[in-house]
């Protein structure tokens, strides 16, 4: 099984990296950009019962893979 996890800065939190990438894209001539957010992407290959794995990944996201103070996460299991 593969867990695909995305971790993004919370909306209310400053995302200097996103801002910087946005202005770089604008300098390169891309238009119409409203916002850019930069976060992390993790792929975890893992064996086990799907429901249990789902719980484990969720817990791991909360405890280790994201920083709940400043980040949100989402994941899918395939």
């Amino acid at each position: 099984m593969k867990a695909k996890i995305t971790v993004s800065p919370k909306k209310a939190v400053l995302d200097p990296q996103g801002k910087t990438v946005q202005s770089a894209l604008e300098h390169m001539g891309y238009t119409g950009i409203r916002a850019v957010h930069v976060g992390k992407y993790l792929e975890i290959e893992i064996e086990g019962d799907k429901e249990i794995v789902r719980q484990q990944i969720d817990e791991a996201c909360r405890k280790l893979l994201s920083n709940p103070v400043i980040e949100d996460y989402q994941f899918t299991l395939e």
Binding site: P16, Q17, T20, V21, A24, H27, M28, V38
Partner: protein
């Protein structure tokens, strides 16, 4: 000689490079803002260390799109000598002027310390003044200094004698323990095939005055100066 030291937003070793070229080595060096389109009348270009654009996204990724980089590209194509130090090395790789890429240190930590460097070849305009078999002591200070290139590129680098510096033990051995960041082949610095563009993670400008704990870095600038003497100026736009 006339040197241009490029200044990107948050270059922060720019002034250090000017200081060494000017006050220590007695040449002319000036800062050149990244929004400029032309290098002006220069003999050499130095891309200094720092955190251009905050190192956001990837080190050197954004800086390489600055207007001045077009001029640097042209200068290099015409044989002009370009040295990238630390962030400068990262920018040159991103810009495709040097092969490979620099990724996160394998320790995942920023690392600032003096290291030993084996000079893999003195057959380059950046190493020619270094005495044969001399081990250099030069500081590093980076979080993304792990050199990566695919097998065939590495093969090319070796075949063409493009590897300039490698992390070594105090005895000159290329061991894993001597490698501060996980670079393939312990690579600390390379040059391009034409040997006029070079990049290195260690900071020679921080090892150019005795009071700061060593002068081995000076040998690199002196090599460059030797090479430039008696060369024709490449056309710079």
């Amino acid at each position: 000689m006339n040197f241009a030291v490029l200044q990107f937003p948050a270059s922060n070793c720019d002034q250090d490079a000017v200081h060494v070229l000017k006050n220590v080595l007695g040449h002319s060096a000036r800062l050149l803002w990244h929004k400029e389109n032309s290098l002006g009348d220069v003999d050499g270009v130095l891309i200094p260390g720092g955190f251009s654009y905050g190192d956001y996204l990837r080190t050197g990724a954004i800086a390489r799109f600055s207007p001045i980089m077009k001029a640097v590209q042209l200068f290099a194509e015409n044989g002009g000598m370009v040295l990238g130090i630390c962030n400068g090395f990262q920018i040159l790789c991103e810009a495709g002027l040097l092969p490979g890429a620099l990724v996160r240190n394998r320790s995942l930590q920023f690392c600032c310390e003096r290291v030993h460097l084996k000079v893999a070849t003195t057959r380059s305009g950046f190493t020619r003044a270094i005495p044969e078999n001399k081990l250099l002591q030069i500081p590093i200070a980076h979080g993304d200094g792990c050199y990566f290139a695919d097998e065939s590129t590495l093969g090319e680098l070796q075949k063409n004698d493009q590897i300039l510096f490698q992390y070594a033990t105090p005895q000159g051995m290329l061991t894993d323990a001597a490698n501060p960041n996980g670079s393939l082949l312990n690579i600390a610095g390379i040059c391009n095939k034409n040997r006029n563009v070079a990049g290195m993670m260690p900071h020679p400008e921080r090892a150019s005055e005795g009071w700061l704990g060593g002068t081995d870095g000076r040998l690199i600038f002196e090599s460059w100066l030797q090479e430039l003497t008696g060369r024709n100026k490449p056309s710079a736009t």
